[in-house]
């Protein structure tokens, strides 16, 4: 089966700086790969490149069956990126933000009942749903960003420091929805500074440095068997 993400000698520059200096990376279906490394090692750039936001200047790249260098728009439609600062309109309410994002994506779960369920699930129900997004705390903004990703139900999750800013309950929520998506056949690429939190979730851990992958090791995730049955 073709890998979900395949990068071969991928180079990407921001300005004149080579953020990615020849990245080789492969992510299989249902796999969770964690990227670790110092600040500026290129973790976020890998995620942005895989999301079709950072154009590659050299190398090959396929994401979810789309050639990244030819059809970045299709990649952008298909992936779910949870970045440092989720895309929110501060003047709209939480519910309106979620509805706009899901309708824009043509997501199946854009109905009223699904929206309410999603908000409840992410701890943004009730009064919070009618609050302007600009008034949310950082943790709540992350939750709203997470709700958008869950609602879009992407086959590839790109998570940038997913635990940052989330409280214990939020972290449980994050890991819960991620596990569900994985069970449904999705894959995930996670950039993080907190190995103690993410390594147990990972099949593989890649260390990045200088815009390249310099080392690979096994993570602590209990694999889902090929047949689909949970080992855990």
């Amino acid at each position: 089966m073709a890998p979900v993400v395949l990068l071969r000698a991928a180079v990407a520059t921001t300005g004149r700086f080579p953020a990615l200096a020849g990245v080789d990376l492969e992510l299989g279906q249902g796999e969770v790969v964690v990227l670790e490394g110092a600040n500026g090692a290129g973790k976020t750039s890998v995620l942005r490149a895989c999301a079709g936001l950072l154009p590659l200047s050299a190398g090959e790249a396929t994401v979810l069956g789309h050639d990244l260098r030819r059809d970045a728009a299709a990649v952008r439609r298909a992936v779910g990126l949870l970045g440092h600062s989720p895309a929110l309109y501060d003047d709209l309410t939480v519910a309106e933000n979620l509805r706009f994002s899901l309708r824009a994506a043509g997501a199946p779960a854009a109905g009223r009942a699904e929206l309410l369920g999603l908000l409840e699930r992410t701890g943004l129900g009730g009064r919070v749903a009618a609050t302007a997004a600009g008034r949310l705390s950082a943790g709540q903004r992350r939750r709203l960003g997470l709700a958008v990703v869950v609602g879009r139900a992407p086959m590839l999750w790109l998570l940038d420091e997913p635990h940052a800013g989330l409280d214990a309950e939020g972290r449980t929520l994050l890991e819960g929805v991620l596990a569900e998506a994985l069970a449904a056949g999705a894959s995930a690429l996670v950039a993080s500074h907190e190995p103690e939190v993410v390594v147990p979730l990972a099949d593989r851990v890649l260390t990045m440095g200088g815009g390249r992958v310099v080392r690979s090791r096994r993570g602590g995730r209990r694999r889902v068997l090929a047949g689909g049955a949970h080992v855990a």
């Binding site: 895309a87 309109y89 003047d91 709209l92 824009a104 994506a105 043509g106």
Partner: protein, 223 residues
Amino acid sequence: MWRDAVLVAGKDLRIELRSRVVLHQVLPFGVLVLLLFAFALGPEHGPLRQAAPGLFWLAVLFAGVLAVQRSVAVEGGEGTRDGLRLSGLDPAGIFLGKTVAVVVELLVLEAVLAAGVLLLFGAGVRSAGLLVLASLAGTAGMAAIGTLYGSLSAGLRVRETLLPLLALPVLAPVLVAGTRAWQLGLGTGPSGGSGPWVAMLLVFAAVYLALGVLVFGPLQESA
């Protein structure tokens, strides 16, 4: 494309309803421009009435730049630009939606400014239909140019200063044709046929709406 345009226009107008930035800041600015023109030209109604059509369009143009700046700023929030690119929306739909939202905002503004011109400068209406038609066509062209250049300069730190420099010279034909059409509509200028001027405004709007639909996709690739 049309579905996405409706979605984006609805979103932008809802944001305006909530934040009232155009209503509470841009609209008063437009009225202020009219007052300042009066101060510059003197208190007699004669010259003011003569100049009314041009002053109206100049005020609309300046306020229009601000309205477009606001429309860009709405998407300029940290992460929001990426959000729009990741949204799955058709770029042409985004362009049309944002343009329509700016048009609606500017039409409200123009209604108030038109009332101001009639009241403050003592102008009378000869052909209301012509005034409305010219405003609609001129505003559509203006909003199309604004949205196009707004998106072009969106990611740049110098966008506030760059946008007027890019947009205003291109909008000169709207100013010329809009002013001539309004002179005929208000009966203040030399008489003549309004056909060419209205046609020019319509052609301008059509050309730039079409161009925007075509190039907005490639433009979004760079950010």
